[in-house]
Every structure is written in structure tokens, then in C-alpha cells.
Symmetry: C2
Subunit: 353 residues, 2 copies
């Protein structure tokens, strides 16, 4: 009599219901969410059982009577970038992205040590949060990891071992800062430091023989199995650390450029899409391979400065980082890049330089 239409079961996804039923749901939700009563108190207040009160609250939610929104307060809109971080995580499949408010600009003559300090603090905070006492931490040398080491607090986190992922022994006077990072992190994290006492690059035969060394092979093994890895990226440029430290010469730089390399991690270069760029150089490199980095469950990429943008993008596309710490400028640049399609290997000449 009241229902002429054959609708025994409402297929309408529960979006509509009797208004009288929803009156109580609305009331329960108000008391629960707005007045902060417990469900038992709501039940008492409404004269229903506790279970029913819970159902009413649940119904209120399913019917859209309750709207919960998490927003960044206006007074720290400039410091927090939850939306950008979330976009980065979604875009590159990251576990966590941390975007600091500063804009690292390494092209101009300005001193970006302050910016790097901010970046370092953020990365150190992330690192100490992710580190477990039984973990092994691997790191590459470079200005980014130095900044992290400087910012790392003591007592907050602990790990078992900290291991060097790429060789740093040099014939020149160039300071890689490896000792500082290794020493400081080991101290602050109360971890046992493990060195990789080799150069970064050597002849292929030398590298092959070094890898058979019991100590070196153990270190490499330890690095490959590290629970957490932390590293920056190097650009393919004459102003990058590897060139300034005489690890690479101009000819190699040109070769890498022609191969489409956009960046490196631990001296191992990759292209725009993250694929390894110079297999021959790979065999001459003493560091954890990119494949091992990609296999690590927790890898933190610290990237600051415009010169590192392309390199960071390549690293992210290669899946070498599960976590990213970068400045806002880098984050925006990364998101401006093709939001969907990753390159299918090879490189696009129009993207060069």
C-alpha cells in the first residue's frame, strides 16, 4: 500500500534513509563529535543502548552527516606543504616526502648553507624517525649528507651500524666529508661505523679484485643489505662535486651527457627515466649498485638546489628513493614535470641541457 514499486532492497548505496532515523543519528553525531561525549554518554543522553549509539554515529558518518577535514592553519601555510608532499608521494610512489619551506638557489651567488641546514634538519628528523635500533644505515658522501650529519641529534635514535656506500679515497686534497659524516652519525646514533676504504672509481680489473677482498666485500655486502639508505644526487655538470673533486674529467662528462645521463647516486649515473646510463663506468665504480639501492625498502633522497632538479627527477623515476627531502622549489619543479607518463628509456634530445 505504501510501496507500489518493487524495491525490496534499496540499491541506492544507503545515501538516503528515513528522516526520522537520521534525526537521532544527527543528534548522536553532534553529541559525540561536537560535544565530545563518549558513546556511552550519548546512549544515556538519548535513551538508547550503547551499541545503538555506536550504530547511530556510524550511520551518521555513512550518510555524510559528519564531515571531517584536516587543514593547514593559515599561520603556518608557508611552512607546511602537505598538499605538495602528498602530490609528490602519489606521483612518485613515495612512502614520505618532506618539503621544507626554503628555496635553495644554488645558481646565484647567495650562500645556501642556511638553506642546506634547514634541509639537513628535515632529513635528520626523518632519518631518526625511521631508524630502528637494529638497523644498518648506509650513506653516500656529498654536501647533502654532510648537512644531515650536522643536524642529527643525539639520543633520539639509535642504529646498529652505519656503513659507507661509495668509495671516497682520493689522491687529491679534495675533502669528501665522508669521515665527518661517518664519525658524527656513528656517535650520535651510537652506531658502529664501517668504512669503504677504496676510491670511487678505478680500473675495472682493480674494482673486480677489490671486490674479492674479504673486508671490502663484506662492507659492500653490508651496504647492499642496509635497512635504510641516505644519499643526495649528483648532477651531470662541471659544477658538481664529482667534477670538482676530480673524480670525473671533462671528457667523461661529455660522454655521460651524450648518453643522456642526468644524475648519479654513489657515482653511478642514470638517465631521465632512471635507467643506468653508462654500463662501462659501472664496472669501474666502487659503490652500491643502483639496483641494490632500488631494492632497499627505505631510501632517503635529499635534494636541494636547482642544479639537482633533473637528477632528482631521474632518481625518483628510477625508484631509487622511497622518501624524499627537498626544498619547495625542487618540489614544484618535480611536479611540473610530466605528471603521468614516465619515459620508456632512451632520452629525449629536446630535454637535454
Amino acid at each position: 500500500m505504501t510501496k507500489p514499486s518493487p524495491v525490496p532492497k534499496a540499491p541506492d548505496g544507503d545515501t538516503t534513509a528515513a528522516p526520522e532515523d537520521l534525526r537521532l543519528a544527527l543528534r548522536a553525531a553532534t553529541l559525540y563529535y561536537l560535544d565530545g561525549l563518549t558513546q556511552a554518554q550519548v546512549a544515556d543522553r538519548l535513551g538508547v543502548s550503547r551499541a545503538t549509539a555506536g550504530r547511530l554515529v556510524a550511520r551518521a558518518r555513512t550518510h555524510g552527516l559528519v564531515r571531517i577535514e584536516v587543514t593547514t592553519p593559515p599561520h603556518l601555510r608557508d611552512d607546511l606543504h602537505a598538499d605538495i608532499e602528498h602530490a609528490l608521494e602519489k606521483r612518485f610512489g613515495l612512502t614520505e616526502a618532506v618539503v621544507v619551506g626554503v628555496r635553495v638557489d644554488d645558481r646565484g651567488p647567495v650562500d645556501n648553507s642556511a638553506s642546506f641546514a634547514v634541509l639537513g634538519r628535515a632529513a635528520a628528523s626523518l632519518l631518526t624517525r625511521r631508524l630502528r635500533p637494529a638497523d644498518t644505515l648506509g650513506f653516500t658522501w656529498g654536501p647533502e649528507t654532510i648537512a644531515v650529519a650536522q643536524a642529527i641529534p643525539s639520543g633520539v635514535a639509535t642504529c646498529k651500524t652505519i656503513v659507507q656506500l661509495d668509495g671516497s679515497v682520493t689522491t687529491s686534497t679534495y675533502q669528501t666529508g665522508t669521515e665527518y659524516v661517518l664519525g658524527r652519525c656513528a656517535e650520535q646514533l651510537q652506531a658502529q661505523p664501517v668504512r669503504l676504504p677504496t676510491p670511487l672509481y678505478a680500473d675495472a680489473t682493480t674494482v673486480a679484485s677489490m671486490r674479492t677482498d674479504s673486508v671490502i666485500s663484506r662492507t659492500l655486502e653490508l651496504g647492499s643489505r642496509a635497512d635504510v639508505m641516505m644519499f643526495g644526487v649528483g648532477a651531470v655538470s662541471s659544477s658538481t662535486t664529482l667534477f670538482e673533486g676530480s673524480f670525473l674529467d671533462t671528457a667523461m662528462l661529455d660522454t655521460l651527457d651524450e648518453l643522456g645521463a642526468v644524475g648519479e647516486i654513489g657515482g653511478r649515473f642514470f638517465r631521465e627515466d632512471g635507467t643506468p646510463a653508462h654500463v662501462e663506468l659501472e664496472s669501474r665504480t666502487m659503490s652500491t649498485p643502483l639496483s641494490e639501492i632500488a631494492a632497499c625498502p627505505s631510501t632517503i633522497l635529499v635534494a636541494g638546489g636547482a642544479s639537482k632538479h633533473r637528477a632528482a627527477h631521474g632518481a625518483l623515476c628510477g625508484g631509487y628513493a622511497t622518501m624524499l627531502v627537498c626544498d619547495i622549489a625542487c618540489a614544484e619543479w618535480l611536479l611540473d614535470r610530466s605528471p603521468t607518463h614516465p619515459h620508456d628509456s632512451g632520452f629525449d634530445p629536446t630535454e637535454m641541457r
Copy 2:
């Protein structure tokens, strides 16, 4: 060095904090409230302990990062009146107010039985929700309670006893409906019915002697101690039930009018401010006194129709009802009344008629 100002304790109500601390709080709140993760999952996702995850969520709330609002969906704005109900509760100190969407208009020639049915359903719903199996339910006779009795479902609620609060025996043929209400409610609620086998009004001496009767006194006692009472209000008018049923004559109506009476419950009249209006008539009335009604922890006033507005207002001001069921027109009228000051006894001539 970093803090020259003497601010050991921040007296600023925790509205501001380090942005970096809030970053995690924001993240935790997002995962918890928006993504629906449990706090343990949030903790795992963020690399913190479960306790810390809980603290982060709590901090996000205290800092206003989370905003929860309970709103009436637009498609039932016309049926629900949560704001009006809340205003009524606040204004008159009610436990609960139920406002139904219909507009009972008893001045015109329209049939308002449908409106009364809606009102009755709402009141019955409220009543069955509030009733406990061990409770005694008291009621007065009248069209409102008849509507409630008609709407009461079976099996939903139970109570021990249902007792008549005001005498209904008449010498005329007027049907009060008391028997119907008593019988139907007793059946549906599986309660034991208790009659008050007396007229509503009698001589003072008669009333006094009736009150000494063991059966009658027990009924009155039972009514006074009822856990829940349900009643309508009568207006001071020639179109009201008490006059039509020949319980009152024109002279008495005028007397009551002059005394400032605006309404009655169980034949006992009160003024605009709720104070008893005719002490002499009180001694001639066989019903639960207003003071007993005011003392009852759960009293449901069912009011529909424009003619009852003033009476309902007086009843609410007298504190005779802890719960109110009325139509939207009545609710709006009640709220349009002085929102703050209650009258200090006596009556205002300008308010009459």
C-alpha cells in the same frame, strides 16, 4: 643565546607551536581521520610508536588542524530541525526537543489529524526510546496522548505500569479517550494499566475524601512517582477540550482568564510564567499536582496547534516538561518569545488574548 626573552613557560594556550612538530601532527591526522587508518597503522606508516601517533593526532586536534562539523544534509533540511531543537533545549533547559516538520494549524477549517499523527509518531518514538522496562508511565488524557497511543508500536519498548494522572469520569457523553490510551499503551508496552476512577473536578470535600481512599490514593501516589509522564496542554479557551467536555463552564473560563492562566496540565492551570493560577480550583482537582509533574525527571509535553502555543510556553517556563514534542510552527513561536527573561509572576495585560 637563542632566547633572550624571559619566556620559560608559554602562556599562549598552545595555539602556536613549532611548525616542524605540527607537520607530523598534520600527517598523522590526515592518515587517521581522512584515510581511516588506525593509530597503530599511522604509527607504522610514520615510523613512530603507537603512543606517539596518538599524541600527534591529539595535538592536531588541539591545534585546530582537524575540523569536524555535523551538518544536516540538504535533502532533508525540511524534515530535520536540529538547530531549532537545540535552541529550544537551551532556551527551556530541556533534555530533548523534537520538532516535526509539519505545521499544525488548528485555527483554519483544515483537518489536522494527519499533522497530529506525525506528532504522535514523533512522541511515541521519543517515549519508547526513553521508557525503561521497570518504569511507570503516567499520562493525562487529551487528543495529544491519543495520537501518541495510536502511534505506539509494539515490542519496541516495555514498561511496568501505565497510570492515569488525571480523573476522567464524566457525567456527560463526552469521550475523553482515556480508556483507549490506557488500554492501547498497556497492550503495546505490556504494562499493567492503572485507572484513576474519579472525575477531574469535584467539590473540595469530595476530593479530600477521595484522596483518603486506599485505591485512589495509591493510584495518585503511583502517578506522582511515575518515572515518565506524558501529557498535552490545554489552553484557556472555549474551544478547548475541558470546556467542550463540560468540565469547565464559561464563568470559570473567565475567572481563569482574569487570573492570567494560559494553560493547564491535568486540569491544573498555570500562568504565563508557569506558576499555578487558581489555588482554589486546585483543591477541587483530582490529578497529579503541577509540583509533582515538575519533580518528575522525565516529562514529555506534546504540543501541536496554534491554540496551544501560549499554554506550551507557560508549561515550559514552569519547568513541567523535560522533553518537548511540537510542530515547527510551535517551535518557532516559542523561540520568538522572550529568549531570556522569564516573567516574575503576575501577567501582562498586553499579552492577553
